[in-house]
């Protein structure tokens, strides 16, 4: 209905505009042009911004606090009991107040994590191939070399304590449900131990050198290589990126068994979803697409920006060229239009 009210307003505007312009004896062609611009503007507003607004309801913007507030709000909005979730995040925030010890963390990491996870940068190698790992766990476990750099600290703490809650996928792995998430919640670890493991991961990640690029690489190539590394860790276990030659580390059939569908190839997602949607979606998939199999991965703001930038660099690789060429073409056309005006004026001088 809103579109109709705007339509009525546009009609009134046009009538007033027409009267005012004819009162001040504005040139007739200018009046016609003004009417057409208003009408075309109205119809464009109607089938583009307005229609999109109607079809894709607004959701809250991405938040990188990872304090569980949005999860609680979502549950309360649905009228569900949020006490458990509230308590969980309160304990996470309390744990986060502890100061971690990276040296102790390394010992704990070796004892608790390396049975399943690799951390190649620190010499913890993969124990089996991607396909075998997928067969035994359901999905290939992530290498944790970069984990301390790209995932939020609060998120990592929450994740070690309770992966399902941290990733916001309780709808898939309900307590006592049929499906069990491959990584168990660590009931035995003390808060101090959890933050120490995280401290170790942060320290290890800080020592990972920037990815190698060939001699004389452009700024674009250097940033693309750095972004690619983040993308592969954060997304590449499940998603392919065909246009960059990236295959998902978990084989497609294992993936489809694990999550119920084959995750899409992300090559063109920057075009089909747009960066605003992607930022909101990656931050917490449930918010945009309720019930989706994709977990919240807990990327911090910088890492998420790198992921989206990488999707742009692969999916819309000519963006820079387009933006550089645009002004030049428009300036040229403006000059062309000026000359066409001068020529027309010369020819029409005799006609009046």
């Amino acid at each position: 209905m809103f579109a109709l009210y705007v339509g009525v307003a546009v009609a009134i505007l046009l009538i007033v505009l027409n009267i005012v312009l004819s009162k001040i004896s504005f040139p007739k062609e200018g009046r016609i042009l003004a009417i057409i611009i208003v009408l075309v503007g109205y119809i464009y507003w109607g089938f583009e911004p307005f229609a999109h607004h109607e079809m894709h309801p607004h959701v809250e913007e991405a938040s990188f606090a990872f304090d569980g507030k949005q999860d609680v709000a979502a549950l309360e909005h649905e009228g569900k009991d949020a006490t458990e979730t509230k308590a969980f995040w309160a304990s996470v925030l309390k744990t986060a107040e502890h100061k971690g010890d990276a040296v102790a963390g390394k010992t704990l990491f070796t004892a608790n994590c390396t049975a399943c996870h690799s951390m190649k940068s620190e010499g913890f190698a993969e124990l089996m191939s991607d396909a075998d790992a997928a067969a035994s766990y359901g999905v290939t476990p992530p290498d944790l070399s970069l984990a301390g750099k790209i995932y939020d600290r609060n998120f990592l703490i929450a994740f070690i304590a309770n992966p399902v809650k941290a990733m916001h996928i309780e709808h898939k792995y309900s307590a006592g449900g049929e499906k069990v998430f491959p990584m168990p919640a660590s009931d035995s670890l003390q808060p101090q131990e959890i933050v120490s493991i995280v401290a170790y991961m942060v320290e290890a990640a800080s020592k990972v050198p920037a990815p190698k690029v060939k001699e004389g690489a452009s700024e674009f190539e250097i940033s693309k290589a750095a972004n690619k590394e983040v993308f592969e860790t954060a997304c590449g276990r499940c998603h392919a990126m065909g246009y960059a030659g990236i295959q998902a580390r978990t084989p497609a059939d294992a993936m489809s068994k694990y999550i119920g569908a084959t995750p899409p190839d992300l090559s063109q997602y920057i075009r089909s979803r747009g960066d605003h949607y992607l930022h909101n979606f990656i931050n917490d998939p449930q918010r945009k697409l309720h019930g989706t199999g994709m977990p919240r991965v807990g990327l911090n703001e910088k890492a998420q920006e790198q992921v989206v930038e990488y999707m742009t660099q692969v999916g819309d690789s000519k963006k820079d060229e387009r933006e550089a060429l645009g002004p030049k073409v428009l300036i040229y056309l403006a000059i062309l239009a000026l000359f066409s005006f001068l020529w027309k004026r010369k020819i029409w001088k005799d006609l009046h």
Partner: protein
């Protein structure tokens, strides 16, 4: 064969063989256009320009495009958009051009309706123009399928499904058009042929014919005035250009057309570079998947009004199902503009605002088409469905009442 004398210049050489001088006179310098016109009369030349842009960019896209369900999507979105030098530019121009050409077609068409340029000897201009509209629609629809994205697929699916509503032969017809039980490779390759060969040839022929139809009845003018072209052109040729009511096609008329085109190109290329989402729907950057429908299916903006007429009837009336009623209304909407010259029975050839009854009809039609277009994209639920229903009824009512309204207007004018 007559004896040819030796030519003294290259111009004379061609003139002997092709009669260039006389031809130029007939087609350009002594082809008379009324002087009392505004920039809306430049829309025809602008359409020619846009068609040329589409043709040229289309040729370049054709060199890398692969009409195959397994290859089409990547040949567009990877090869053309990311690898071919300036491939992205050609595609953006082609995509935005295809959308903008309809904006100009509609302005051109409603200029004709507003000034009554379809009456009193100008019927063939109108008919050939509507033929071009139909051909451009077919060209737009077939081209939209080629990138083989989700919208390509589902628009093709929904539109070909419409033919299933035709009595008796519907189901077989749909399979025949698709060449398969669903939209598949055979569908893509045949629509590819239509898009790059048959329809463009037909469009070029129809454009030539449309120009030809202007020749004898002459172009209309801002006041719908009929005057003696012979006398006015004599004045012009005698040098009294200022007092003649005509101007020459070249250079007078075209110099203004070219100025309008040049100004429009600034806006057009702004869209090409910075705002092309309206013409290249984001959903179409997901590859076609016959097992997964997008959340919302809608046609490109220029088909929304007739799509909304199709959807407008969503309940049974008098024992006829909503689907069949919608299909009938859709058929009506497709055909009714064609016979406009015979629906308007008022002899007045004047701008709509000088016609006592027609002006209300015209602006009501405009308003209704705007409502149909905007609601044609929204999900047809709740109040939207009823807005669609009433605006569809209004559309039908407007055209059914036009013969009577224009007859009343003719009486009011009192045979003047």
């Amino acid at each position: 064969m007559a004896e040819f004398e030796k030519a003294n210049s290259i111009g004379e050489w061609f003139d002997q063989r092709l009669n260039v001088k006389a031809f130029t006179k007939v087609m350009m310098t002594e082809y008379w256009i009324p002087k009392n016109i505004n920039f809306l009369w430049a829309m025809g030349a602008l359409l020619v320009m846009l068609f040329k842009l589409l043709l040229i960019t289309g040729i370049f896209l054709l060199m890398y495009y692969k009409p195959d369900v397994n290859l089409a999507f990547d040949s567009v979105n990877y090869t053309i958009m990311q690898e071919v030098g300036y491939g992205w530019l050609f595609r953006n121009i082609h995509g935005v051009g295809a959308s903008v050409v309809f904006l100009i077609i509609y302005i051109h068409m409603f200029t004709a309706i507003y000034y009554g340029s379809y009456k009193k000897g100008r019927e063939m201009i109108w008919l050939s123009g509507m033929l071009l509209f139909v051909l451009f629609s077919a060209e737009g629809f077939s081209g939209y399928m080629l990138p083989w994205g989700q919208m390509s697929y589902w628009a093709a699916y929904v539109i070909t499904e419409i033919f299933g509503g035709i009595p008796f032969i519907g189901d077989e017809l749909v399979v025949w058009i698709r060449g398969n039980f669903y939209v598949a490779d055979a569908t893509l390759t045949r629509f590819f042929m239509l898009h790059v060969l048959l329809i463009p040839i037909a469009i070029i022929g129809a454009i030539a014919f449309h120009f030809y139809t202007l020749r004898f009845p002459h172009v209309n003018n801002e006041e719908g005035e009929f005057f003696d072209y012979h006398a006015e052109s004599k004045k012009y040729l005698a040098g009294d250009k200022a007092h003649s009511k005509v101007i020459a096609f070249w250079p007078d008329f075209l110099s203004k057309d070219i100025m309008v085109i040049a100004l429009f190109m600034v806006f057009f290329f702004y869209l090409v570079f910075y705002n092309n989402g309206f013409a290249m729907d984001p959903v179409n950057f997901d590859k076609a998947d016959s097992m997964k429908t997008p959340a919302h299916i809608y046609p490109e903006w220029y088909f929304l009004w007739s799509y909304e007429v199709l959807r407008g009837f969503f309940f049974e009336i008098g024992g006829i199902s909503g689907k069949d009623l919608g299909l009938m209304a859709f058929g009506f909407a497709q055909g009714i503009f064609l016979v406009l010259p015979w629906l308007d029975r008022s002899p007045m050839v004047k701008p709509a605002n000088q016609r006592p009854v027609f002006k209300y009809w015209f602006w009501l039609l405009m308003a209704d088409l705007f409502v149909l277009t905007i609601f044609g994209k929204l999900p047809p639920t709740g109040i939207n469905a009823w807005v669609g229903f009433f605006s569809s009824i209004t559309f039908l009512g407007l055209f059914i009442s036009l013969p009577f309204l224009s007859k009343i207007e003719a009486k009011m004018a009192g045979g003047k």
